[in-house]
């Protein structure tokens, strides 16, 4: 009968196994959601931007929003999830005092008009980004994406994907000053 291997023979393979298990466990625990790129703009100055206003011969942008809190929603009539969150945007527009600015992304103006006429317009101002250059400057890679910007022009939060009542309450309302949380008038 062959003698049992010396106990130290187990130590190295076991240590290697434990090491790999720990590394993989950390990897699994910290793995980002698939496909989500967290914005590097959070806590930084928002890009300065200026875009034509939908159905108006004027432009609108960061200059007009200096010193104000605002919600910036990137949407398009071609975007299915935007349709899903539209009801929530309308509710936010009704209930809170923070302005919602829309960037209609690579869209057709006439279709955007029809969409807003049919579903209601939650936006204080709708701007249009046909070539998507402002969207790139904001690090947008899909729609909808919704940013919260503070009066110093710093990006405070970014929601990637659908705006839900839960997201609004948990991530946006908690960051807003009390006077903007609810519409008083």
């Amino acid at each position: 009968m062959s003698p049992l291997p010396h106990p130290t023979k187990f130590v190295i393979p076991l240590a290697a196994f434990v090491l790999i298990a720990v590394v993989l466990a950390i990897g699994v625990k910290h793995s980002p959601e698939v496909g989500v790129i967290h914005s590097p703009l959070i806590g930084k100055q928002a890009p300065s931007w200026e875009l034509p206003v939908l159905d108006a011969k004027r432009t609108f942008g960061s200059k007009d929003l200096k010193g104000r809190w605002y919600v910036l929603n990137v949407w398009g009539t071609w975007c299915e999830t935007c349709r899903l969150e539209h009801r929530e945007l309308l509710a936010i527009g009704r209930e809170s005092a923070v302005p919602i600015i829309g960037i209609d992304w690579r869209d057709d103006d006439a279709q955007a008009d029809a969409y807003l006429n049919q579903l209601g317009n939650p936006y204080n101002t709708v701007t249009t980004d046909h070539e998507g250059r402002v969207a790139i400057d904001w690090g947008v890679y899909g729609a909808p994406e919704t940013f919260l910007v503070n009066p110093d022009g710093v990006v405070v939060y970014k929601q990637i994907g659908e705006m839900t009542p839960e997201v609004w309450q948990k991530e946006f309302l908690t960051r807003l000053p009390r006077e903007l949380m609810e519409r008083t008038s």
Binding site: I37, G132, I136, Y141
Partner: protein
């Protein structure tokens, strides 16, 4: 030239042709820059950058709209005289290092860069020790057959003499 040489040459040519065919950058993006130097830099850049939406494709290969917009942005930055580093750092500042197919070396990800080398060294050491141990076994096992029987015979005698001594005691 021998047949084997010829075959090897054919295989290399075929592999080269396949590699070349596997880069259909122009098929997706017909917008060429007129300056060949800028065009070359543009091609290098879009092959190094990841499409942010279809995340396993390069910007060069991706057909989604946002990739086209990013390519247009890169072209206009090149035409505006921006350096490759300026363009890459702009895109990283908007989309994080995720957009780089070849991430920068930093203290945070150093272990990722170094671990293959460390694993290779460990593997070489282990392999070397195993090979040495086996070589030692083989060396002790290839003594002439007569010697082998001699050892057995000697062992046998020893056992026998051992037995005798036991009987003596």
């Amino acid at each position: 030239m021998s047949r084997a040489h010829l075959l090897a040459l054919c295989a290399c040519a075929l592999a080269g042709a396949l590699l070349f065919a596997a880069r259909p950058a122009h098929a997706v993006d017909p917008n060429q820059l007129s300056d060949p130097k800028l065009e070359a830099r543009y091609q290098t850049l879009i092959h190094e950058l990841r499409c942010v939406q279809c995340q396993n494709e390069t910007l060069a290969d991706s057909e989604v709209e946002v990739a086209g917009e990013l390519r247009a942005e890169i072209r206009s930055m090149l035409l505006a005289g921006k350096t490759d580093d300026q363009i890459l750092s702009y895109l990283v500042s908007r989309y994080t290092e995720f957009i780089l197919f070849k991430p920068e070396y930093s203290a945070r990800n150093a272990w990722l860069w170094l671990s293959p080398g460390v694993l290779l060294i460990i593997g070489v050491i282990v392999a070397w020790r195993v090979i040495r141990a086996r070589a030692a076994l083989v060396a002790s096992d290839t003594e002439p057959v007569e010697d082998d029987t001699g050892v057995q015979a000697a062992g046998g005698t020893r056992a026998a003499s051992g037995g005798e001594s036991a009987r003596h005691a």
